[in-house]
């Protein structure tokens, strides 16, 4: 047999990386996941700053999907988007924004940072389950990137 060209390891469950300062929102998310019998690993950061630190310290196993709140202490969601897109090692991250903000400027700023989707939090239980269902379908269907090495300095020159 010819050697495999695939560099992908066997398919792994995507990690859900929740970046949200509100405990109840996180509880709600976890409840919805368990209702839908989704057993993906869930990791949480309380603001953008903490999320960046965890990502840079490699504490979030790839492949992962980031569920990002916008309004948080220290580093908010939009600032987090700027930071992560400017980080060569993390720029490919798949990010959904999960927020209460219906403000157009937030929505547009978020999509400018190439998010996968902008989802509103304030729908109650049933709609919220749909939202989670959507995210689940997403990671089941699409191929998520694994952790990739940042382009080396030499190749840039």
């Amino acid at each position: 047999m010819p050697p495999s060209h695939s560099t992908y390891p066997p398919t792994r469950e995507a990690t859900l990386f929740i970046v949200d300062d509100d405990d109840i929102d996180v509880m709600a998310l976890k409840r919805a996941l368990s209702k839908l019998r989704i057993a993906n690993p869930v990791i949480r950061a309380r603001d953008g700053q903490e999320a960046m630190e965890m990502l840079r310290a490699d504490q979030v196993p790839a492949p992962y999907i980031i569920l990002l709140d916008l309004n948080m202490p220290r580093m908010g969601g939009l600032e987090f988007l700027q930071t992560i897109r400017a980080d060569a090692a993390l720029t490919h991250s798949v990010i959904f924004v999960l927020t209460t903000s219906r403000a157009d400027e937030d929505l547009i700023s978020a999509y400018r940072a190439h998010i996968a989707g902008y989802l509103l939090k304030d729908q109650m239980e049933e709609r919220f389950l749909e939202v989670i269902q959507l995210i689940e379908n997403y990671w089941r269907v699409v191929e998520l990137p694994l952790r990739v090495a940042p382009p080396s300095q030499e190749s840039k020159v």
């Binding site: 509100d22 405990d23 109840i24 929102d25 309380r46 309004n71 202490p73 220290r74 209460t100 939090k121």
Partner: protein
Amino acid sequence: LNALMAAGVMALPLVTLFIAAHRITSRGCNLERKHQTGEAGLILRMQSVGDTLLNRIHLGVWELDLVDQTTTRTSGHDRIFGYETLLPLWNHDLFLTHVVPEDRGEVDRIYQKALVEQAEWRIECRIRRADGVVRWILAVGAPQLDSHGLACRLAGIIQDITERKHQADQFRQVVEMSPFGLLEIDAQGCIGMVNQSLENMFGYVRAELIGQPVDVLLPQRLRAAHMQHRGTFMASPATRKMGSDQVLLARRKNGDEFNVEIGLSPMSTGQSLRVLASIVDISERVRAQQLLSAQRKELLRSNEELSTFAYVASHDLKSPLRGIGQLSQWIEEDLAAGNGAAVADHMRLLRSRLKRMENLLDGLLAYSRAGKSDDSLGPIDVRQVARELFNLQAPPASMQLVVADDLPAFTTLRTPFELVLRNLFSNAIKHHDQSPQGHIDLSGQPLSNGYYEFSVRDDGPGIPVLYQERVFGMFQTLRPRDEVEGSGMGLALVKKVVETYGGTVGIDSDGVRGCCIRFSWPLTLERK
């Protein structure tokens, strides 16, 4: 000839010439004109055109022989008094009867004095002509001395100067009635003329200004610079606005300073250079502009605040509300599942969200009111007030406040000042990471601009430079509210209040240990 008249008595030798010509003809020296040569011929020829020319400029020439009291005059002389042909007789008394009664005494006094002193005279007065019309005349004259040095004749010129007088009057009225302050200076910067508006504007009467250096109208500190500017202008004088775009300052007699706009027009009148400055008091306009720009700034700020309000209402206020909705649903599910333990937990969380909501609303309300209630002007001793406010925060017993000895006692708006200190203390206590241990210092120093800078320094975790700007925003917290309950309005409130009274707020912290928040507060405040 006009120039000669302006020179006044200097024209007397010419007068003598005309008189001589007249004397020749009036005494019947029948000399044939065409045969005349030399001086006598010139005199005669001049006489033939002289009368016409003299009449054209309303000039009359006369001579009085003091021995026989007879007078010789040109026809123009009598015409000035309204007589088409020469009167048979003319003398000083007859002249005086033509002078209007108001001027008569003074005219005679000057004339008699000149006679006694054998000196020249110059009079401007009004006469009533034969046709009853009042006219202005200029009369100049001088005695002529005989070989013994005694006056034997008087000679003089009179001129009808009514037109010139009217023009001068008109000019004077234009100058006097001008709404602009008008000021004339010479090349050395000495004041030559001022008008009524200028007197009113600066609070001087003109006698105090004429002959003075123009710098008296300037604030002391600007005089040296002005002297330089004046030199530059005098070197290449041109009509222009003074100071181009900057706001000029002038000084009234009472020392008050005010804003002016000044136009400069060089006037060269043949002699030395003079400059006419027209001055407008624009302090009202400047005040109005300042008010307008202050209002504009306030409007921009309040618009900004409004849009921030809308934004935070959709984020920060909604968040606990959504939590409450969520929790109520879970409680319903817990009850259905008979999970009593979970119900208690969820109820506790629900109440914490209600409390948070209340805090946020309180913060929002306090923020929107900040800087609006200022009815509490009163004396405060900062050291005492600081201790009271600190104790009101119910700090842990081992948390210490050190108040500097030199803090002022002053009269200010008590409520907003206390609000600022209270929020700073409460922050320092609440966010201290070594609580119950901790030190908080309150110190300060006077600034040069009439403000006092207070510093609240703690030895807590500090605020990293990265977040130092953002902590002054509404509802900004550095830690999740689930960890440290707080509205995130404290520093926003402090900033708004301090800036309302013209002060500034700043942070000194390395984000590792300790934080110092400085704010400046006016030492004198007036009730709005």
